[in-house]
Amino acid sequence: MTKKYLILLMLMCSISLFAQEHFPKNDGVKSENTNYTAFTNAKIYVTPTEVIDKGTLLIHDGKVVASGASINIPENAVVVDLSGKSIYPSFIDLYSSFGVEKPKRQGFGRGQYDPTREGFYWNDHIRPEQNAVDHFKFDAKSASALRKAGYGVVNTHLQDGIMRGTGALIALTGEGGDAERILDDQSASYLSLSKSLKSSQSYPSSIMGTFALIRQVNHDADWYAKGGITVKDRSLEAFNTNKDQIQIIMAGSKANALRVDKVGDEFGTQYIIVGGGDEYERIEEIKATNATYILPLNFPKAYDVEDPFAASVLELSAMREWNQKPSNPKTLAENGVKFTFTSDGLKSPSMLKANVMMAIKYGLDKTTALEALTTVPAEIIGQSGKVGSLKNGAYANFLITSGDIFTKSTTLYENWVKGDKNVINDMNIKAISGDYSFAADGKNYDITISGTSSKPKASIISDGKKLGSKITYKENWVNLTFTGADEKQQEFMRFTARVDDSSNLNGKLIDTNGNTTNVSLKRRPLEAEPKSGGKNTKNGTGKSDVKMIPVTYPNGAYGASELPKQETVLFKNATVWTNESDGVLANTDVLIKNGKISKIGSNLSASGAKVVDATGKHLTTGIIDEHSHIAAASINEGGQNSSAEVTIEDVIDPDDVDIYRNLAGGVTSIQILHGSANPIGGRSAIIKLKWGESAENLINKNAPKFIKFALGENVKQSRSQNGTRFPRTRMGVEQLFVDNFTRAQAYEAKKNSGQPYRYDVEMETLVEILNGERFISCHSYVQSEINMMMKVAERFNFKMNTFTHILEGYKVADIMKEHGVGASTFSDWWAYKFEVNDAIPYNASIMHNMGITTAINSDDGEMSRRLNQEAGKIVKYGGVSEEDAWKMVTLNPAKLLHIDDRVGSIKVGKDADMVLWSDHPLSVYAIAEKTMIEGATYFDIEKDKQMRTQIQQERNELMTMMLQDKNKGMKTQPVKADDKQQLHCDSMD
């Protein structure tokens, strides 16, 4: 296959340069070069760990023949003496788009639901049938830039789509055409979390949908392979063909790295993950992925904090990123995570060396750095024998340098690719910098030549006057042009010389009159070391001048350097709101042990317990928010009218500072609901707010499965003028449910019949609902739709679990009671859209009085931290008792979420999710002083005070460091602030 393809390609490019034996030759005799080239006396890095101090590298026909300290050099060998110089295998980049142009965005199509292609997968963003090699066009300019950076081989691909198809391994040689360059045209499969620019198809509109889509493609490909799909699908076909290739996925951040790894694990795929450079922030979890990483090196520049006003919006997390990111490779190496580097994300590959050196400065071992650029990428793509080392038989892809490749003063002389020499800096050029003088026309001239050999600088002084001058130095020829004494005359003297063994520059001077004389520029003895000498002596290991701010969890303001641990705590003399038949107990002690409520009583004592004097304070169970959208990277998958296949669990964001702020408001558990973009939304995540833990550890493993449904204005897209997505009316909403559940019944019937069936994640989810294994929390407003939803459920023999929002619940409270559904509502919201015109703050009390389990929720990252006050409003509006009102933000949401066996009240044996309040918990004056989850204190008002001081100090310290950087002349970037969008039901991400 590959060969045939290559031949075809060669025929197309009828360039006579090609020396393939099977090509006819009409422009001369067929000649074959069988000579060897031997590089002698060099320090040779056969691999990063196998180093020959003074050896010979012998190459022949583009490949390494031998390397070693004593090699027999054949007679027909060209010998290059590399005394004092080093040879390295050249670098490899596995995440490149070299020679493959990215398509242009096809405008911002909105509301396009159907695919634009025929004969491919139904989703335009799934393009595994793309082959980089079909789009490859050698780009000589980029190749030259990459070679200058030290690259010999890159694995390129079409950077477009979620499934992007196969990559091609390309040797960066300018010679020999694509026949020489293409080393492998099926070198890897690429994926990403970004949609194709070629299509405006709206699904997936969120990364949550992207993960679901990747899963469904896996199932569909399997079904296709089994013959379940009878029509041609070139995407699935390609997916199956390329299944055994290595799979490289662009994640772009630590969070997404963990997410894609989880998806991969479900299908037995170990992705190679292109990271974000922030992996050090969650190193334990990253390590546990067992993935190999492709790391970007785009370390951020310092922020320009000279303007204190502008700097005031800069967040600690951004400043830390600047300070810590260069340590990422070191941290990964220390933890045994295998990685390679990519230049992707750098402005130019020329920045590679400086950034690798930065990583080294931050503690990365040089050998590991070299491995990351050579042997590791070779191993990842299964080409260890051919690239990445100088072992016998490998391609002659190597670099000749003046010394240690990761030292600033080292010069890269040559970059050989497949035995072809590419000169980067002429290594035979003689250094000409120094002080010279000569006399002409009775005048003395003093010349100082400085700079590098490739970019020399000259200054000429005559009679104490500095003359304008220009110098070039190329291929051993020096040309020096300078003005005469009278600059106004615009007359020039020119000197040209071929540099030879002499220490002087002997050449010709053409004066202002055009007369030519032979002149010798006599070198004067050196007077002192050049100034720059002192700088380079550090040799890249100056760890001492790197000050690293320690990582916290999460790695920003209010993060913890150590996660809180379960403690034995005895609350003494509190007013205890039990939420049990005991009601509110005055002057009561509560003992917390092993994460559970251990004892409730008076005059309790416990040895080793931390005693908290709670006199005058109120102790309650933690607040539970049935409807939250904090701590999630995306909320809505609105690309289709049903998205039961997506789950918020895929996109939990444990770094969201709103988790901490919610703790400061006494919240311990939340349900992160999908938004209301579509009637059948996504699956929920029920989490505990264990600030600092990983996304996975936030999930409440004891909670049952939930899904969000939605009705009304949002799902019928009533605020978009020209919506094209069904349904557009409440009438259509009903039919959508009936249709989906009917199909789910048919799906289940087929599944149970033992016949082969297409595994459909969406239908699987709906079947769970039909079987009572998954509960619905349904966004709802007006009475007609509430009633309809219950009738649909009854028709399909399941029960609605919760109506959320449910602002007209009071109008159908009797019907709700009969159905047995719970309610989770706002205390007093209304008037924000048409369908909440009849929303009343007495809603909760009417439903409660009817005997419906009623909760008060937030749907808002601000209000959620004051849910205690919202419960207080239920006393005000409708006169519910204080105890019952308090249950509306604790026990009742626990019941609605079916987690009340463990949380929601203060009862011996239940989870110690506790809040200590300064005042009556329903009062606007109450402040949460301690918030505890399972016996570990995640918020403590005293600790919060300390952290505020620390944040101020650290901000100041980091800003000082950035100012120092700027004063050193380093480049800076303008400040930026996180423009955090509060997510609500309507948020379209």
């Binding site: 924000y832 606007v924 930026k976």
Partner: protein, 428 residues
Amino acid sequence: MRHIKYIYSVLMLCCTITFAQQTPADKQTEAITITGATIHVGDGSVIQSGTVVFEDGKIQAVGNSSTATKGKVIDASGKHIYPGFIGANTSLGLVEVDAVNASNDQAEMGSMIPHVRSLIAYNAESKVVESMRPNGILTAQVSPNGGRFSGTSSIMQLDAWNWEDAAIKKDDGVHLNWPSSFSRGRWWLGEPRGLKPNNNYAKQVGAIENFVNESKAYLAGKRDTKNLPYDAMEGLFNGNQKIYIHVNDEKGITDAVNFSKSNGMNMVVVGGYQAHAVTELLKSNNIPVLIDHTHSLPAIADHDYDLPYKNPKLLADAGILVGIHTGNNSNFQTRNLPFYAGQVVGQGMSKEDALKLITSNLAKILGIDDQLGSIEVGKNATLFISEGDALDMRGNQLIKAFIDGRDISLETHQTELWKRYSNKYKSN
């Protein structure tokens, strides 16, 4: 007309009978005395077992139990009396339903539009307006919010037939949205998301200064050719109107203060998230702040979680005249005004000082302290009786409320629905 049509469509949709809005109360005809209550005067002081007497809409006497009663006597023993709360920079009567464009009259098109007036668009029969009264909000400044110079606000009492009898102070001030020091990255053009320094800041400030200079030149001339926007600026220069500058960041506040000072304008900061960092400047120039309501989130992760809770206190402690405004929240939320003030008590401010944030301080800032803001002789009898502490949701339960001595209804569309459905289930 618009409004009637709107109500009609609600009727159609809900297939229920929607009751008409509450009828505005009649003029006070006889003297009223309230006795036995704890009087929260609004200026920081409290009178236990106090007596208030009002007649012809004005307060005649305030004192302890020995104060002579007159006319009808209401025994409010164990209850609390407060001056009516004042909403500042609200959208009341201008926006009925946030998401329904047809019901939104708050933002006119154009940039330099000081001439547009909220007064005449104020819908006295708004259901949102009537929902303010049961929580004690009896007066409100109604402000436009579009463009750069947004237009002119007015101050209304919240129990009226139309905008004319609602108006307490017509055209009290002009609102100016100060340019932000930061702009959002246009990600769709490939710029990074997030906030970055606004490169057009100087240009935008320059446009404001230019408009002011042109206005001055016009006003100094013969004004032969009428220019409505320039005319509307006159009150700012002659001291008849205030300029409400909406600005949050430290740099913007500093620039805005210098701007108003050099133009001789009477300035109020609206927003003021970072005003606590420039209290010296504000104090020395006697500039008050209408701070954002407290139930907001901190601007960045690094800030104290309770910064919005304590922001009013930080300013008050520094000697700044400060009140709370609700302009950056949904229209209906203004009814939570007492709790926005109550929130500051948790931060260590006394309850009576917190009360000032929504009464006397606001009256001073809005320039209506001769009529409103405290329970003092000579002022309007705009006050209410509450079962308990009105700054706390646990105590805010109004029994009676008066605007200019008029005994106003505390019923609303919402209470009527409550009663209707409660009765439905009771009878079942």
